[in-house]
């Protein structure tokens, strides 16, 4: 177990160092998120629909896009640097390779979300104060689900034609159940409803994470082995 984590961290660190050295992808993703939020502002009529009703949707569509961007960039990096072959030859286990990529992707998406959330609160005057902790909890749960499946599929599309398009097409159906859970819990939190009303959805999110993190981690080897 310790071995697994150590190896995973090696992989993650390599990705993250590359990422933060150039910072281009990160900055672009953050700017993109801000732009999406801005566009949402122009897509609504604040006099007709109270912002609070649209807020969960705005937040989660934005975060979904951010996650997709992060995943796209993840495998682009590999493709460009032919790094994947190098990693496969190394004595790293396939599972730790997956976990390393998962961690790196989570950090990347996490940073984007950490900037996106305050912007969201600012732009739409959303009262998150009292529910900040549960909200962050939901964001973590849903993001883990997105990125777990996305990391697996990124590896899968690498050697296919039209990889970026394919990634989006195969990934989005998998994002629907956690998205439903995330939006519903967010709506209830922002509406001041007690947490007990969200329990069903939270269980959905947790179950999804457990199942798909395990499944993706197990299946990853089949996407990279010859």
């Amino acid at each position: 177990m310790g071995e697994l984590l150590a190896q995973a961290w090696t992989v993650a660190r390599k990705d993250l160092v590359l990422e933060f050295r150039t910072r281009t992808a990160l900055v672009s993703a953050v700017v993109f998120t801000a732009l999406v939020l801005t566009v949402f502002n122009f897509g609504r009529d604040p006099t007709a629909v109270p912002t609070i009703d649209l807020a969960p949707t705005i937040l989660w569509v934005t975060f979904t896009f951010a996650a997709m961007l992060a995943l796209n960039r993840a495998f682009q990096l590999e493709l460009e640097n032919q790094a994947l072959e190098g990693l496969l030859v190394s004595p790293l286990s396939r599972t730790s390779l997956y976990w390393g990529k998962l961690i790196a992707n989570l950090v990347f998406v996490g940073v984007v979300e950490a900037v996106g959330l305050p912007l969201f609160v600012l732009f739409f005057d959303v009262p998150v104060g009292r529910v900040l902790l549960p909200l962050i909890g939901v964001i973590v749960l849903a993001t883990l689900g997105f990125v777990a499946v996305g990391t697996l599929f990124s590896a899968l599309v690498i050697r296919t034609r039209f990889a970026e398009l394919l990634l989006v097409v195969i990934l989005l159906p998998f994002l629907v159940p956690p998205l439903i859970g995330a939006v519903q819990v967010t709506a209830r939190l922002l509406g001041g409803r007690p947490l007990s009303e969200s329990v069903g959805y939270l269980k959905l999110l947790a179950a999804y994470d457990i199942v798909f993190v395990s499944l993706a981690s197990f299946l990853f080897r089949f996407t990279v082995d010859e």
Binding site: L156, L166, I170, F174, V176, P177, I180, G200, F212, F222
Partner: protein
């Protein structure tokens, strides 16, 4: 008799069976009092929906066995089941709105069955696209197996999330298209239809499998041989 011929015969029998179901449903099954004749769409819509889902589960199961056994027959079966599943999904997604319009007054409704089938449809399309995007048969079979397994595992989550979401929106009180208690003559019609669709699935998959087999023999490229 070659596999193709067997498949064709089964399909012919299935189509005859379907014709009999048509006659029985249209002429010899009572009209439902509240919904009117449009209710009879149910006899086609529901069996098709059941098989859409069953086909996806079979794709997933074939995938699991393929990853362990590397038998190309499993991959061919998965490919066939996915294509046939897509056809059945199309039936559900077209008959659904045609049924929905007179009953609920709207062409589309996000009810449990339509929403689930829509997501299944996207899963199928993604699966077939990935298959089309990979040249090497071995790689293709492996990637398809991974995606198929994930798709199969997503099915319970689709149901759960759609169910949770649905309980927000009051369902039409009087007109419940999937009323659990059917008078026996209606139940009989429904069962005959289920048999017809089962035969259709078997006949179609057999033919599609034979097609795959013929193509593999021609190209000399069978997956699963290292």
């Amino acid at each position: 008799m070659s596999l193709t011929q067997k498949g064709r015969w089964i399909t012919v029998v299935a189509l005859v069976c379907l014709a009999a179901v048509y006659v029985r449903a249209l002429a010899f099954t009572p009209v439902e009092r509240l919904q009117g004749p449009a209710q009879k769409i149910f006899y086609l819509h529901v069996p098709a929906a059941l098989w859409t889902e069953a086909a996806m589960i079979l794709v997933g199961l074939a995938g699991i066995f393929y990853l362990f056994l590397k038998d190309p027959r499993l991959d061919r079966f998965a490919e066939a089941s996915a294509e046939v599943g897509t056809v059945f999904a199309t039936i559900v997604l077209t008959t659904g709105p045609i049924w929905g319009k007179p009953i609920w007054g709207t062409w589309w409704t996000w009810d449990a069955r339509l929403t689930s089938t829509l997501l299944l449809f996207f899963l199928y399309v993604g699966y077939l696209l990935v298959r089309g995007a990979v040249r090497d048969p071995g790689l293709r079979a492996r990637y398809a197996a991974v995606l198929g397994i994930c798709g199969m595992c997503l099915v319970p989550f689709i149901h759960l999330s759609v169910f949770l979401f649905r309980t927000l929106h009051p369902q039409p009180i009087i007109l419940k298209p999937s009323a659990p208690s059917l008078p026996s003559s209606m139940l009989a019609t429904w069962l005959f239809s289920l048999v017809a669709f089962t035969l259709l699935y078997v006949g179609f998959v057999t033919q599609r499998y034979a097609l795959s087999l013929a193509r593999d023999a021609q190209c000399g490229g069978s997956p699963g041989h290292a």
